[in-house]
Amino acid sequence: MTSFHNLSLRRKLTVIIMLTSTLVLLLACAGFATFDLLGFRREMVQMVSSLAEVVGNNTTAAIDFNKPLDAMQTLTALRGEPKIVAAHVHTLDGGTFATYLREGAQPPPEVPHSLQSRHEFTATHLYVFRPIAQGGERVGTIELIADLKDLQVRFWRYAGITVLVLGVSLLAAFALSSWLQKLVSDPILHLAQVARSVAIEKDYSVRAVEQSDDELGQLVKGFNTMLFQIQTRDAALLAAQTSLEERVVERTGELVKTHAQLLVVSREAGMATVATSILHNVGNVLNSVNVSADRILEKVRQLKPASLVKVAALLREHAKDLPEYLSHDPRGRELPGYLSALADQLADPQKDILPEVAALRKNVEHIREIVRMQQGYTNASDVWETLSITDLMEDAIGINADDLAPRKVELIREFSAVPAFPMEKHKVLQILINLLSNAKHALDASRASDRKLIVRIGPHGENRVRISVIDNGMGIPAENLTRIFQHGFTTRAGGHGFGLHSGAVAAQEMGGSLIARSEGPGMGAEFTLELPISRQGRSVCTAESGAEVMRRVAENGADRNARGAIALVNPILAPSSPI
């Protein structure tokens, strides 16, 4: 079959036509021969049967009156029928009454004889049995045996005719098909040739010639159309390629220009951010500085230097008789008591003032550190100190204490023991101050009667510490949870929209995270700062990609099983140039 597949189209067509013709002719000849031979057999049976009836009828009297010789004589009349090789007359009891055998013929093999009318074909003979009756009465059976030579002769004659017809017909079919197949094969071969030349030479300008309007013609038409389309597309592609190169050059120029513009813009934005950062952080601390200064002022006011001046004048006036004055003058006698009272009065404010001054100094130091941090932002005050986070939190609370006290806020500390670990003190402090300050404002805006601020510190896993600032204040609407960490986003009049943004950036710089969580407006909020205990963890964290950080943060949110919890560590902004 494979070899047939590989034949050329012309050969294939010839083979198909010849095979079809041969099969059809064979079937037709076989059909005719079968029909004719069957008819011939039927005729033969009829002929022998009528012969049997005639001969049998002539033997009735011989049987009835016991004349076997007469019966044999009757059978001898069969000599005129060369087909009949033998005949028997059987009596009713099955015996043979008379027999005939053609001269020179071999006695044919016996078949079981029958009383009924029937016939039987063997390979070489036809046996016909017919009952013999006289006067409506059965008297015996006649059996005629014909040879089938005629049938065989006829069969072989048919075979010969079939071979002859087949030979002549196939010759004619071959000649005719050789001529007619060109109608089909020529256009296809032409098309194949054109296709081959297109494939080899890649020349899409050649065209096949249409020779007819049938399916082959349509095939050629379709092929030509395809070639035309390929040609057109090639040209368009070439044009597009050229124009694309031009466009790429053009766009690259635009990009370079845009990039330069962006550089300028981002530099300006960086500078603005730094300025905002300083203002915000310094502003936060200045608040506390202001409060401390006010207190000191008040304490100083409470000092009464006038009384001391008066005492000094009295002493100077009685300088000559001072002992007299002090011991005998009624006013002089009271003077030592007065002086000691005055001394007490002066010592008390100093006691109050000293811590205030200390706080003032601390705040100023913080401000100085903020400024210093911004001055060297690129390697941002990378001073790592091993500190107690609890102490740092207390500092932050202290800075905000004056604001919290008058607001009737219940401050709850939930501190678990955590080891001291390395951190950038001012970044952490700044985040904590910011968080407390935000909580304060959130509680201000709330109308709840029992305002609570929970500050929680605890370990998280083996290597991390979690610091949470939880308030039951105004809460954060879900839509804002995604935005509060963005630079410049604020919900407060007078807010900068910077605190949380810079807090998140700082947390990330230290290898930690800052996460916000709120059940919605009026439901309070929870901000959690997570920091690594070892610097190793930090370095690993900073090495993580932004996406990885986002994923981890999202997982943290899932850990808490918090509805509406959103975490954001926003690395958007890192000033591209130092100020």
Partner: protein, 212 residues
Amino acid sequence: MAVLMRAPPGKAGLRRSLPEGRNGRGPGKARRILCVLWVMAMGSGFGTLEATAAELASEYQVKAAYLVNLPKYVNWPAGAFAETNSPVVLTVVGESKVADEIPMIIEGRIVNGRRIILKRVASGDAPREGHILFVPAAEQKRSPGLLSKLRDTGILTVGESDDFLERGGIINLVRRDQHITLEVNVTAADKAQITLSSKLLGVSKVEKGNPK
């Protein structure tokens, strides 16, 4: 079948006319023996001349069978039968052993749509009715004028005497070379308006006998 077994050589062809032979085919063994006997008979030229008692008995049977087979080959003149299925009446005059065999043979047989009935009349009677009249040899001797009385009556007369045809009989059953053969007087048959089948004539010895 016992009868058949007793059949002598040369008589084997008769077996089919006998009751047992007709109605039931015997065991294959018996048939084979008969075939052998028949072939021997043919080969020996119907040899033996001794007529045994068995042979005589067989002769009566053969004659009886011939009598019963005759109606198949005979056409009687119009009006011989009252109806299309009226029986063929076979009359036997006087005493005859042939007549004794007939009842067994005719039992149940229908020929050309007619039954065959046997009618026996006393010696000397000449019945002018019936279809076949068998005149045994003894009766022929006793009343030689019988046949002349029956002329033109449309009765098929059958006899067994040498002079039967001369005296005007139509068919004579005679023994020739161990065979019972038929002799036919065509003239007498014509007179009696009886047509005999050519098949019958084909197996008979035909004489254009005395038309008396």
